[in-house]
């Protein structure tokens, strides 16, 4: 239970699950930061991305192609949702959230109708084969690949946010919507773009995540809970917060599942409760 190999294995499990959580939570937190919407359909986007990814990967045998297809399908769905529904309730906090709940119902149910209720996984052939071997420790390359993808995407998001014009527009939109509108930026389209990007990140997480844990009906709620806990701990709207929160929750979850499986959910909830009590804005959050 406390052997070094076991601890290292669990630590790696935690980090790789944390990486997946980061992919999932970063989209949610970005959308919230800019649009002040908690997108309750984020879990459904993850599941949709996972299903499309699995189907395309099985057909083509190519993970990259599967990822691209998933991002395209989910982004298009998100575009329709944003353009066809959310725009009509813009700025009204509660209806926005409730609308995404309705969307989540519909997407999850249609996924069940199209892809069936059986658990789906990425086919073994598209995953990176083999395992890393260091002495007695063996660890699958695929999970290390997931950590790599999360690192690359995380760094890219931070760079885009801080170094590019698009990032500047988004940051300005977070700080002062009216001012950025007055400067000639159509904030409506910035919102739409951000919602689509957030959904795309969920699709990436879904496709890659399908190689770690099965996609099946009901998973949308579970991943949504994890993502919410992560962004509550990290602070809503903060990418570094999402990174720290994901890592924390990933590690806690891995060790808790190994040591005290009966209380597995309780252990991810406890840090959230502590953060809420002592620092309600989250570790990296700003007072709204």
């Amino acid at each position: 239970m406390f052997e070094p190999i076991f601890l290292a294995q669990q630590a790696l499990n935690g980090v790789s699950f944390g990486a997946l959580l980061f992919l999932l939570a970063s989209g949610l937190t970005l959308v919230f930061g800019l649009m002040r919407i908690v997108n309750m359909a984020h879990g459904a986007f993850y599941v949709l991305g996972g299903y499309v990814g699995v189907v395309v990967a099985t057909l083509s045998g190519n993970l990259l192609l599967a990822g691209i297809a998933a991002v395209l399908v989910v982004s298009l769905t998100a575009l329709i949702v944003e353009f066809g529904l959310l725009r009509f309730v813009r700025g009204q906090e509660l209806p926005e959230v409730l609308l995404t709940i309705g969307v989540s119902f519909v997407i999850a149910d249609l996924c069940l109708a199209i892809f069936g209720g059986d658990p789906q996984n990425l086919p073994v052939t598209v995953k990176i084969p083999g395992a890393l071997v260091i002495g007695e420790l063996t660890y699958p390359w695929y999970r290390i690949f997931v950590i790599g993808v999360a690192l690359v995407i995380g760094v890219a998001l931070v760079l885009v946010q801080s170094k590019t014009r698009i990032g500047a527009v988004v940051r300005a939109g977070v700080d002062d919507r009216e001012m950025i509108t007055a400067m000639g930026v159509n904030i409506k389209w910035v919102f739409t773009g951000m919602f689509v990007v957030g959904a795309g990140l969920a699709a990436v997480a879904g496709t890659i995540g399908a190689g770690m844990q099965s996609i099946l009906p009901g998973v949308q709620n579970e991943v949504l809970l994890y993502a919410l806990v992560v962004i509550i701990i990290g602070g809503l709207g903060s990418i570094p917060g999402a990174a720290v929160g994901s890592l924390l929750i990933g590690l806690i979850d891995a060790f808790a599942k190994a040591w005290i499986p009966e209380l597995a959910y309780f252990t991810i909830f406890l840090p959230m409760a502590l953060v809420l009590v002592f620092r309600p804005t989250g570790l990296f959050g700003r007072a709204a």
């Binding site: 509660l94 409730l98 709940i101 119902f105 509550i232 909830f269 809420l276 309600p280």
Partner: protein, 343 residues
């Protein structure tokens, strides 16, 4: 105003009479049982409606409270305890769980409140799912018997009906008490109430305890109704269904929760045998209501009646404070709440 009250009261009386007569006018045991389900869901939705309509706190975790209470009964019955002890345990569990919910959510508003309650609800679900020594895991606890004197389906139906009437009346009175008025004040402006010297978290905690108590009571009735409790009864889907009921029926209205509960329960239990994709139907109804009928069914009907009467009386459209706008002010609660910006 007066005529409207008479109309409302006679409508309520007629509804109650039909409900009372139901077992005698040839309703089958299936219909009675379905009506019981609707009434229990209506009680649970009322508890959500009290928080949302009165206090502006939209909870996405109330199914967890009801389920915790149901699990209390289930666990006690598995230990072979008698009914009185079972009820006491359900009450204790409900109070503890509601207190935890309230404690964690009392400093939050709006979206944050929603997320915290959602997370706590998922925690209850997780415990129900994993803590199998107490909850029997995924299989849930079955064979929970209700007290003998309400053993037949129709005596139980009357118990549920009486419970619904009592709870609705109690929440109505509570809403019009000084405490209820303070909650409405919190909903409309927290900072104003704080500067008036009110302890905002304490009021929120109190409101949550009341609402939680009602939810726990509904959980008790539900487990007596079906004799069964499983993790899915604590799930997010159930909690979101409750929100759907409240919004669909009309947030902040007296009978909205019952109307919403009827629609959702009927879709879930009756439509589902004809249409496989009933969750899609439910989702689409929900989206439609949010986009086009924000006041819900009860609220919208109230508005139409007011508008029709206005037209019939050839009165100019009433401004703020006129009798007409006062008559529909109940149904405007949700809009007022929605207009509130983030803290």
């Amino acid at each position: 105003m007066n005529r409207r009250r008479v109309l409302n009261l006679s409508l309520l009386g007629a509804l109650l009479l039909v409900a009372l007569a139901l077992p005698y006018i040839g309703a089958t045991s299936f219909v009675i049982s379905l009506t019981s389900t609707i009434l229990i869901a209506g009680i649970l939705a009322s508890s959500v409606n009290f928080l949302a309509g009165q206090g502006g706190m939209v909870s996405l975790g109330h199914a967890g409270i009801a389920a915790a209470s149901a699990y209390g009964v289930g666990w006690a019955s598995r230990q072979g305890m008698d009914t009185g002890v079972q009820v006491l345990i359900a009450l204790g569990v409900t109070l503890v769980v509601s207190f935890i919910y309230g404690l964690l959510s009392m400093r939050t508003t709006g979206i944050y409140f929603l997320m915290v309650t959602l997370a706590v609800g998922m925690l209850v679900y997780g415990l129900a799912f994993r803590l199998s020594s107490v909850t029997n895991g995924e299989n849930g606890i079955s064979g929970i018997a209700r007290p003998e004197w309400m053993g037949t389906y129709w005596t139980f139906y009357y118990v549920v009906l009486a419970s619904f009437v009592l709870v609705t009346a109690a929440l109505w009175v509570m809403g019009r008490s000084p405490f209820g008025a303070s909650l409405t004040g919190l909903r409309d402006s927290e900072s104003r109430m704080r500067s008036l010297g009110y302890s905002v978290p304490a009021y929120k905690l109190g409101a949550f305890m009341i609402s939680g108590l009602v939810a726990g009571f509904a959980g008790l009735l539900a487990v007596w109704h079906t004799g069964f409790v499983s993790p899915s009864s604590a799930g997010v889907d159930r909690s979101t269904h409750l929100i759907v009921m409240v919004i669909l029926g009309g947030i902040g209205t007296l009978l909205g929760p019952l109307i919403g509960a009827s629609v959702v329960v009927l879709v879930e239990n009756v439509l589902s045998s004809y249409v496989d994709r009933w969750p899609t139907v439910l989702g689409l109804i929900f989206i439609f209501v949010i986009l086009f009928a924000r006041a819900g069914i009860a609220g919208s009907v109230g508005k139409w009646i007011a508008r029709a009467r206005r037209r019939a009386d050839h009165r100019p459209p009433g401004g703020r404070g006129s009798p007409v706008s006062e008559a529909v002010s109940d149904s405007n609660h949700s809009e007022e709440m929605n207009r509130k910006d983030l803290p």
